[in-house]
């Protein structure tokens, strides 16, 4: 199909879809006038019941924890998928890319980028840990904090190079973190089954809202998910960056 014909077909079908979407959305509750009872119930219940001032974390790691378990395994499966897609194939060898383009001068990373990157590593890790640890009180949690923590590792790549990043975050350590985090979240859920009789039941002492050690298993789940997300993202970044080292030995047709 020629690009011109394809565009015409799309414009006809697409404008139909656009119209259908608008028609469907017009049947939604008016913007600003949502009256879902479940959400309002959770808003009222989560602070007295679970000592959680961030309702979204309470939903994610307690009330709808089972759904988050699925989300967690989506991430896990994606990490496995990226790893197996980017594995070293037959006919490839891992090498530094310098000699690949002998005529080309690769400019050195400027000192400003190196120093700024290095200076940002500490604060980034601190912010990431803060976001993970205070997930049950303020906006944030394991997913958000984990991404920030993985950014800390990426900064070492920016301020040095890939091989230095591998030294700072060895693959074995990242893999172990990813696996331990994912398994930890499942174990917390199983703990609910063992100690309270229901999968994902919050079986630890709830405590007082506003204190760091409160909300029962929610901070623990945040920590486990934070570990898993840090490991997962760091691992995927590492896999993509490793592609800069992979060089084809011969053209496979």
């Amino acid at each position: 199909m020629s690009p011109r014909l394809r565009l015409r077909v799309f414009l006809v079908a697409g404008s139909g879809l656009f119209g259908l979407l608008i028609w469907g959305f017009a049947g939604l509750p008016d913007f600003g006038h949502f009256h879902g009872v479940y959400g309002q119930l959770l808003n009222r219940a989560s602070t007295p019941e679970r000592a959680t001032t961030d309702v979204i974390t309470a939903v994610n790691f307690d009330y709808r924890g089972f759904d988050t378990l699925g989300e967690e395994f989506i991430l896990f499966a994606a990490v496995i998928g990226v790893t197996s897609l980017l594995r070293t194939l037959r006919g490839e060898r891992v090498d530094t890319p310098d000699d690949d383009a002998p005529g080309r001068q690769v400019p050195e990373t400027s000192l400003a980028v190196r120093v700024t990157g290095l200076l940002l590593v500490g604060p980034t890790v601190l912010v990431g840990l803060y976001v993970v640890v205070h997930g049950h009180q303020t906006p944030g949690g394991g997913f958000q904090g984990g991404v920030i923590l993985a950014t800390g590792l990426l900064l070492t790549y920016l301020s040095a190079d890939y091989l230095t990043m591998r030294r700072v975050g060895p693959t074995a350590l990242i893999e172990a973190g990813e696996a331990a985090g994912t398994a930890g979240f499942v174990l917390i859920a199983l703990g609910g089954l063992i100690f309270a009789g229901t999968f994902f039941e919050n079986f630890l002492h709830i405590g007082t809202a506003g204190q760091l050690l409160s909300a029962g298993t929610i901070p623990l789940s945040n920590f486990a998910v934070g570990l898993a997300v840090t490991g997962g993202f760091a691992f995927m970044l590492s896999e993509f960056l490793q592609q800069t080292l992979v060089k084809r030995r011969r053209q496979v047709r």
Binding site: F18, L21, G36, N43, I56
Partner: protein
């Protein structure tokens, strides 16, 4: 009745789809899919919005106040995670496509590599 956020959500689907259909580069195509996906974030958050209400965070609020729906916000978080993983997988596929065919143009992806 204000349906502007919903129109923007429908528009993002349309624009993203247009980009995918006309794309000549797999990386551009992945970004277009991300644009499409951002429409679902906007749609979810717009549905749960309550006028003059605060975010569902009660750390510095005196008592129960009106807050927007927390369930759709939690769903949006799931959506973002899924979006990221899809993007990562597609980028990995793009890397493999480039290795196999030596091009990122979807038009050139046929057995035997690019036409010269």
């Amino acid at each position: 009745m204000s349906i502007l956020p919903y129109i923007v959500a429908a528009w993002l689907v349309f624009v993203g789809l247009y980009g995918i259909v006309t794309s000549r580069n797999l990386l551009h195509l992945v970004v277009c899919l991300a644009v499409m996906q951002s429409s679902s974030y906007l749609l979810l958050l717009s549905i749960g919005y309550v006028k003059d209400a605060s975010a569902p965070m009660f750390s510095d609020l005196p008592g129960p106040t009106r807050a927007v729906d927390p369930v759709v916000q939690a769903l949006t978080l799931t959506d973002v995670v899924v979006g990221t993983t899809v993007t990562a997988l597609l980028l990995a596929l793009a890397v493999q496509a480039h290795k196999r065919y030596g091009t990122l143009d979807p038009e050139q992806l046929r057995p035997g590599g690019p036409e010269h």
